[in-house]
């Protein structure tokens, strides 16, 4: 089991971006996305500015562009929708490459594509440079503790449960099962039921193990570093740029 450090989205490194405290990066990402969304639709140069700022962050993080590009496949549904918009939207028509499309739809599609891409790349960069544990620790004191603990358990047991699911699927397939049509759905449902029962039982065992180590209903917090002013300033540079771009976009409209 020579698995690396973090999860599948994480790119191990020690760059300046990796080293920033998780809470700084998280807040920066949220603000950045809000600013990008608030940018006027047709201010394409503002998107370019946002993209350039994000590009600087990626370069600083030393995460290979190809690594992020592969994971951007998650954006595909948005891309399809954005490409459809010019064709299905109503309003004034315009001609692009010899095809008549809706001018408003074209605008909406382009801005949707730009905003979605900026958001996804920002999110991927955060995931690539931050361990899930640090992300949770960064939220400590900012979200209700119970919520953080639930998320921590989820992060911990997601792999265990999905591994169990995979083993059950392999066991089914090894006995010649292929889900071809709805008649096979009951088998899949039973598999899901078995998985639920097993997870529930594991939950009980985990609780026993916790109680054995003196758990009385209050979980200790995750240890995390407090961010310095300098780190806050560094990480807020990205959303500040996006905010300037958005404001300028409205100003010059």
């Amino acid at each position: 089991m020579g698995a690396g450090h973090g999860h599948r989205l994480h790119f191990h490194g020690h760059s300046a971006v990796h080293r920033l405290p998780a809470q700084c990066k998280l807040l920066a990402l949220v603000l950045f996305v809000l600013c990008v969304v608030a940018t006027p639709r047709t201010a394409y140069w503002a998107y370019a500015l946002d993209a350039a700022a994000l590009g600087v962050c990626i370069a600083a993080s030393r995460v290979p562009v190809g690594y992020l590009a592969k994971r951007m496949l998650i954006e595909l549904p948005f891309v399809v929708f954005a490409l459809l918009l010019p064709f299905i939207a109503l309003g004034d028509r315009t001609v692009v490459l010899g095809v008549e499309v809706s001018a408003e739809g074209l605008e909406a599609g382009l801005s949707l594509l730009a905003k979605a891409t900026l958001g996804v790349v920002g999110g991927l960069l955060l995931a690539a440079t931050t361990e899930p544990r640090d992300l949770l620790a960064g939220l400590e004191g900012r979200l209700p503790r119970q919520l953080i603990q639930i998320m921590a358990m989820m992060v911990r047991y997601l792999d265990v449960t999905s591994d169990q699911m995979r083993r059950m699927r392999i066991a089914r397939e090894s006995r010649g099962f292929v889900a071809r049509n709805p008649r096979h759905w009951p088998v899949l449902a039973q598999g899901a039921g078995a998985l639920f029962v097993r997870s529930y039982e594991r939950g009980e065992r985990v609780h026993l193990a916790m109680v054995s180590r003196g758990y009385v209903g209050q979980l200790p917090g995750l240890v995390h570093d407090e961010a310095t002013t300098r780190e806050w300033v560094t990480s807020l540079a990205l959303p500040t740029t996006a905010a300037v771009a958005a404001v300028a976009g409205w100003w010059l409209r």
Partner: protein
Amino acid sequence: MVVEVTADHAREGTGAPVLTVDGLAYAYPDGHQALYGVNLEVWSGERVALLGPNGAGKTTFVLHLNGILEAGRGTVEVSGMAVAKANLAEIRRRVGLVFQDPDDQLFMPTVADDVAFGPANLGFSGAELAAKVEHALEQVGMADYAKRPPHHLSYGQRRRVAVATVLAMQPEILVLDEPSSNLDPQSRRELSDILLALDITILMVTHDLPYALELCPRSVVLSEGVIVADGETGQVLSDEALMRAHRLELPYGFDPRQLHPRRYGGSCPPSVDICKTGQRHQLQEDT
């Protein structure tokens, strides 16, 4: 059939008993009776194997030792303190329970967080907590893995971390439920090296008989809710009638009469950073 084997000459420990179980009986809420009056004493410094077939009540018994289950009848005492509601916090510090599946025990995002869970519940924090975590991980040779998430460790490494999670609470007795299950031979040996190097009383629940012989000078057989034998491990395992009567079987070709429990000698386990002899050892590479 009940065979009594005297335990006196098998006893290695000294002083007062760490664990005293007297007439412990327990029935589950559904009426199924699991324990019918168990008597057991474990002395300080002993390593005792609790043997028994599946369904003998081993795990039920173990859950009484730290008060997870409440005795129907009889008493359990740990270093003179009765297992009762009022002292549960202290009892759970004194009795370190290592569960069979390390995935049940390790539930925090990283190894260090998990090892910190027990001592944090005891009220430790800051540098003191960090020192306890580091020391416990060093004891099992896993100090280099503190920041890793548990699901990225091998099964053997996870089992070792599970041992560290209770060592960090400085228990008086370490209770291990099937410690060798699912381990490959090398992980098995690494774990036994670690357990032998620990200066702690051990009660090991298992049906891995060679492992019991390797680690524990004394063995106790639990069958159908009662203790049916208590004596020197080699002697207990050599009693063919006893073994057959209680569904305990030695692996093919294994002869307990020719083997003896390992004792902690001068050579130190390779997987332990600092051991009893005070020498520092090369940490083993991740395999």
